[in-house]
């Protein structure tokens, strides 16, 4: 789950990382008030979940409250990279001596957290040459001690008071990374302003799987309504816009199903991983969800492992009996309790394929038949 900049900065501030004085507002009047409170020139920043706001006009400068009101009004009418702007952050304009980059994220290959830092901040880190990037893995059983900050500070060429501030900031940022179950904490730019080090931006992603123990972080919604319903059911769902609704169990199997449908000339309506061990009730709800994409055909591809074919069959029968299924369903059903599952389907007037490509070809044929 991605956090808005103002949320990340509020967490930074709670932990003692310096951020610019400012306030999140949702209308031009409050923006003017916030500029008044901050005093002096301000920055008005759209709060959206994608980067590169500056290039899209989502960041404006204002010298006084009246200009801040106008800037806020402009930004609130914008759609930046497909995201409607609903919130803005009004902040003091910093005196910038130098911009650094600092992030901590999960390195899947090394199976460890990695600190990424650069003395060339302000731009997309992907555009910074490797020679100017410092990478340092963290031993999770040790964490970050001052020596590590000192070393990274040395490699960045920092000195004096700024080096001291950097060491302290890195320890705090790692603390946030751990305690908030973050997958990413990024400060770009990290601004050197006189002898202060200030987080001028914040990007944070919280691990979805850890939200159960991060109850004090407000939920940030980034999904379509169907995707949200799916998530609430514990299913992974992505809308794709075609006319063949797809349900498979397992993420890889779901992707393999999509690839196969596309190969035969079909257009999948969605990706839906019904997950491992989803019971009868979950399966029934998943099918109802698929119907919301208004498909011409439903393609169900189940290879039972932890999922049991009889559960899937019973769920299908239940949905068919209780609400009806208005479009054809092509089912491929093999694996755990396959015989029981196929028997249940047959007793209720449905058939199942054994071979995936035959079932996929059939689904495409129905979808493309005018």
């Amino acid at each position: 789950m991605k956090l808005f900049e103002y949320m990340g900065k509020s967490i930074f501030s709670t932990y003692g990382i310096k951020v610019p004085a400012g306030k999140m507002v949702t209308n031009p009047d409050d923006a003017a008030k916030a500029a008044q409170e901050v005093g002096g020139p301000v920055v008005v920043k759209s709060q959206i979940l994608t980067g590169k706001r500056g290039k899209g006009g989502g960041i404006k400068f204002a010298d006084n409250p009246e200009e801040a009101r106008q800037a806020a009004s402009d930004i609130l009418s914008m759609t930046v990279q497909g995201h409607k702007v609903e919130r803005i952050l009004v902040e003091e304009k910093l005196q910038i001596d130098k911009e650094l980059y600092l992030a901590i994220t999960v390195d899947g290959a090394a199976k460890k957290p990695v600190i990424i830092a650069s003395a060339q901040g302000g731009m997309d880190i992907e555009e910074v040459p490797d020679d100017y990037i410092v990478k340092q893995h963290v031993d999770v059983s040790l964490g970050v001690y001052p020596y590590l900050g000192q070393e990274i500070s040395r490699r960045l060429g920092l000195a004096g008071q700024i080096s001291k501030e950097f060491k302290q900031l890195l320890i705090l940022l790692y603390k946030i990374f751990r305690e908030k179950d973050a997958e990413l904490v990024e400060i770009n730019p990290l601004v050197i302003s006189g002898d202060r080090l200030i987080a001028a931006d914040s990007k944070m992603t919280i691990d979805d799987d850890a939200l159960f123990r991060q109850k004090d972080i407000p939920y940030v919604e980034e999904r379509t309504s169907i995707e949200k319903q799916a998530h609430d059911l514990g299913l992974a769902f992505v809308e794709l816009g075609g006319n063949i609704a797809v349900m498979a169990n397992g993420a890889g199997m779901s992707m393999g199903s999509l690839d196969t449908l596309v190969h035969y000339g079909g257009q999948p309506a969605n990706f839906l991983d019904a997950g491992g061990g989803t019971g009868m009730e979950g399966t029934a709800k998943a099918i109802e969800l698929l119907l919301q994409t208004n498909p011409k055909v439903i393609f169900i591809n189940i290879f039972g492992g932890i999922t049991r074919c009889d559960d899937v069959a019973n769920a299908l029968v239940q949905v068919k009996k209780t609400r009806g299924i208005p479009v054809p369903v092509v089912i491929r059903l093999v694996g755990t309790n396959e015989e029981e599952g196929v028997k249940i389907l047959q007793e209720n007037g449905m058939n199942a394929y054994k071979v995936m490509q035959e079932a996929a070809a059939k689904a495409v044929e129905i979808a493309n038949a005018g």
Partner: protein, 288 residues
């Protein structure tokens, strides 16, 4: 031979008294896996499918020789259970549980490395040395003994591919599920190295997916292998920026794309299938 586990591997099941633990204990026993005990705090002294239940892993190890353990434990408690196994000295730990927080996963893998425990998963179907030992949740009937090593990131798709292999007369030495999460215990390279050394394995099937750079890293090793490798990468039709179920299966900033992975694998000498059911034929050609 086979890798990591074989017909002599003694296994304990953590969470044996839960619904999944119980069901899959029965399935594993039916496959011939030597399950010597179960662990379920507060339920020591009971039996499940004739298998003795212990309160702790330590207690199980006082009573049995334990070579491997499999976890059917809910995500919030998985770290504790994994730590118990690793510190008790279990050498192979299979973590089936999905949705474990990534910080917990990093801690589990870190401790396992320091103590010399091999972790299969998390979020894996497990590992099967076909005809000898199955630890995890795959359906039994498709896994038959033979010369093909299989290593995969995803679960059900692997059953699909293994079933196709079996139907085409290709049995398997060992089938390893690395797990679908961003941080898992084994890499493709770890497993490829073992297959390269295993005399029983004549060729390897690698089942990957979009996102991350695990397949690209695997390619660097495949270049050095003497045994043929056939790969299938899922997600050719996946849109960028969307997480396709697995935490790692997402194309970000143009990285981890289908095209890049296929190119890396092919330039390393692997044959790449575009669709899952093309694997057996490519394998037949590779073994000629």
């Amino acid at each position: 031979m086979a890798i990591i586990i074989n017909e002599n591997t003694n296994v304990i099941v953590q969470g044996i008294t839960g619904k999944q633990g119980r069901f899959h204990t029965r399935q594993m026993l039916a496959y011939g896996t030597k399950i010597v005990g179960g662990v379920s705090p507060g339920k020591g002294g009971q039996e499940v499918e004739g298998i003795p239940v212990y309160d702790t892993v330590y207690e199980a190890m006082e009573n049995e020789r334990v070579d491997a353990s499999v976890l059917f434990i809910p995500a919030p408690f998985a770290k504790d259970a994994a730590f118990e196994n690793i510190t008790a000295g279990v050498k192979v730990l299979v973590i089936v549980t999905e949705h474990i927080p990534v910080h917990d996963e990093m801690e589990i893998i870190d401790l396992a490395r320091k103590k010399g425990t091999t972790v299969v998963g998390p979020n894996t179907f497990g590992i099967v040395s076909s005809g000898k030992c199955k630890i995890g949740i795959p359906p039994n009937q498709f896994f038959v003994e033979g010369p093909i090593g299989v290593v995969a990131r995803s679960g059900t798709l692997t059953y699909e591919i293994v079933a196709n292999l079996t139907a085409n007369g290709f049995g398997q030495s060992t089938v390893v599920g690395l797990g679908g999460d961003r941080v898992v215990g084994l890499s493709f390279v770890d497993v490829l190295e073992k297959f390269e050394k295993d005399p029983e394995t004549k060729a390897v099937v690698l089942v990957g997916e979009i996102g991350g750079n695990a397949e690209e890293e695997a390619s660097l090793y495949i270049k050095k292998m003497t045994k043929p490798v056939v790969a299938y990468i899922a997600g050719k039709s996946a849109p960028p920026g969307k997480r396709m179920g697995h935490a790692g299966a997402i194309i970000e900033r143009g990285k981890g794309t289908f095209g890049a992975k296929v190119e890396a694998l092919q330039s390393a000498g692997a044959s790449v299938a575009t669709l899952p059911f093309e694997v057996p034929e490519l394998l037949r050609n590779a073994l000629k």
